[in-house]
């Protein structure tokens, strides 16, 4: 047998060759304009080299020319699925620099909105994950439920996706009178729909076979590559900033940091599904107790940060989002750096997908939950 193999491998006529395939920039599974140079041997993935920058928009450069409230609205456009968390990061950073204490009401509103956007993001991730694996129906069920959250956003913030709801020192509007009722209705509704997600996908034997044992990322590698968020926590890397460096109303609520030590695609999937349950319980704890008070602190017309360096980390739906502001005392920052979760997560892909099949590469990419503007910035 081995002799035949030898002959086949050495023969000129039957020489095998590696395949170099460009996945993207236009490819159904890259969810945006990401190009991956994939080296294949038949179906097996030998190496992946991500090429990014197709929608690099120079947000960091733009930020150097505009004022702080205006920076907030640009962060919407980075990780558009966690737009509210990104907004909040900048707002918190400015508040920290100016040592402004925001009212409790603001903290509560921000935390509820955070969790709602986390839910919306995870719902979109879930339906897209199903679609990547070929179960097209999940896409519509996920979006159906997400619409309800977007309606809540629209009623209170005025926009569905790029909400721009935060301002330094508070939020832009008070919550809408219907807000609490709508959120409670949604939580009740979504608690009935979440088990359906499990029935449709999580329990499915094909799905479990497709995902378990695929895309192993060891805890040490997760830290080394800086893979945060649900992807990192599925590798046992305890990186939930809501727990470790609580901000807004997170110190007041009880919730579990979901950790999984299986480190594979299924673990990353289940961490996100469990996080949805946690988010629901956080909203439950907060929604009835929103304290009365002001929805924003009165700030100066032109906000100037004191000279210095300020860093704020928040936990978005994809992982750790950091805002690093270097101020020289003017109304524009001297330098702004956004530490985006997708950037670090993307480059762990090669480590995870090497040696698996093309179909697994798609599944692994799905569970990393990449948003390309977040990577390109």
């Amino acid at each position: 047998m081995s002799e035949i193999r030898e002959i086949i491998l050495n023969s000129d006529r039957l020489a095998t060759d590696e395949y170099l395939v460009n996945m993207g920039p236009q490819h159904p599974s890259t969810h945006g304009v990401l190009r991956m140079l994939v080296r294949l041997e038949g179906e097996k993935v030998l190496n992946i080299e991500p090429h990014i920058g197709y929608i690099h928009s120079g947000i960091e450069k733009m930020c150097e020319a505009i004022s702080y409230p205006q920076i907030i609205h640009l962060t919407d456009r980075m990780d558009y699925l966690s737009a509210h968390m990104n907004n909040e990061a900048v707002a918190l950073c400015v508040e920290k620099a100016l040592q402004v204490e925001v009212p409790d009401r603001v903290n509560y509103i921000r935390t509820i909105m955070d969790e709602l956007s986390r839910l919306a993001s995870h719902q979109l991730w879930w339906c897209v994950m199903g679609m990547d694996l070929g179960a097209l129906t999940t896409f519509f069920y996920g979006l159906r439920d997400r619409e309800k959250i977007l309606d809540i956003f629209e009623e209170t913030c005025g926009a569905r996706l790029t909400v721009n709801y935060n301002l330094p020192g508070g939020v832009m509007f008070d919550i809408h009178p219907n807000f609490q009722k709508r959120v409670k209705d949604f939580v009740k509704y979504f608690r009935t729909k979440l088990p359906e997600y499990d029935q449709l996908l999580s329990g499915n034997v094909i799905f479990r076979e497709r995902t378990s044992g695929i895309g192993y990322l060891s805890p040490a590698d997760a830290i080394e590559y800086g893979v945060t968020g649900p992807s990192g926590r599925a590798s046992g890397f305890s990186c939930d900033l809501r727990k470790h460096q609580p901000y807004s109303a997170y110190p007041l609520v009880k919730f579990n940091e979901i950790l999984d030590h299986r480190c594979d695609t299924l673990a990353r999937y289940e961490v996100r599904i469990k996080e949805m349950y946690e988010s629901l319980s956080i909203i439950d704890q907060l929604i009835d107790n929103i304290p009365e008070g002001e929805y924003a602190v009165k700030m100066k017309g032109v906000i100037k940060l004191p000279e210095g360096e300020f860093f704020q980390r928040v936990e978005t739906a994809r992982g750790e989002f950091g805002v690093f502001v270097i101020s020289d005392g003017k109304k524009n920052p001297y330098r702004v750096k956004f530490r985006s979760p997708g950037f670090s997560n993307l480059f762990a892909l090669n480590k995870m997908a090497k040696g698996h099949k093309i179909a697994d590469l798609v599944a692994i990419m799905s569970t990393l939950d990449l948003v390309i503007p977040d990577i390109d910035r």
Binding site: H73, L74, E154, E155, T156, C157, G158, V205, G301
Partner: protein
């Protein structure tokens, strides 16, 4: 023998999970009245946007064709994208003083990101967010709008 039983068991368990999945989709198939599709152009009349929805910047005018804009330019400063341009002019008030008033409040809808900062900053509440969302036009130049209506003037008693 044990592995054989596991083999048979795995078949039945697998089929069972598949059937559970089919139950979910089947349930929706046989309850078509729960469909969530909205027939968009047909349901235009029922479509009411939320009052805070940010569709475009508009300037409110009362029945006498008067607005609240003083032409101070704060919205122009606050706009991150430069989508607002204020063109003001000087007039002589009846009591003989020179006064700057708004000539044209130009709004580039195509550049606007609907961040609401201009509305938030406006000291007199002259501009608000409108709920219209069907902005598609054939020519890009149509997206540049003049918000104050022709012949309109500032309402009496608005503080500068």
């Amino acid at each position: 023998m044990k592995s054989f039983i596991e083999y048979i068991g795995s078949i039945f368990k697998g089929i069972w999970t598949l059937l559970i999945g089919m139950k979910v989709t089947g349930k929706y198939f046989f309850t078509p009245w729960k469909n969530v599709t909205q027939q968009y152009p047909e349901n235009r009349d029922q479509l009411v946007m939320f009052e805070r929805f940010r569709g475009e910047v508009i300037m409110t005018h009362n029945e006498n064709n008067e607005h609240l804009c003083t032409g101070c330019g704060i919205c122009e400063i606050n706009c991150p994208n430069g989508s607002i341009e204020i063109i003001s002019k000087s007039i002589l008030t009846p009591d003989g003083k020179k006064k700057r008033i708004i000539d044209q409040h130009i709004y580039h809808l195509g550049m606007c990101t609907f961040c609401n900062l201009c509305v938030k900053a406006c000291p007199t509440g002259a501009i608000v967010m409108g709920q219209k969302f069907e902005h598609a036009v054939w020519d890009r130049s149509l997206l540049t709008k003049v918000l104050n209506q022709p012949g309109s003037k500032i309402e009496e008693g608005v503080k500068e």
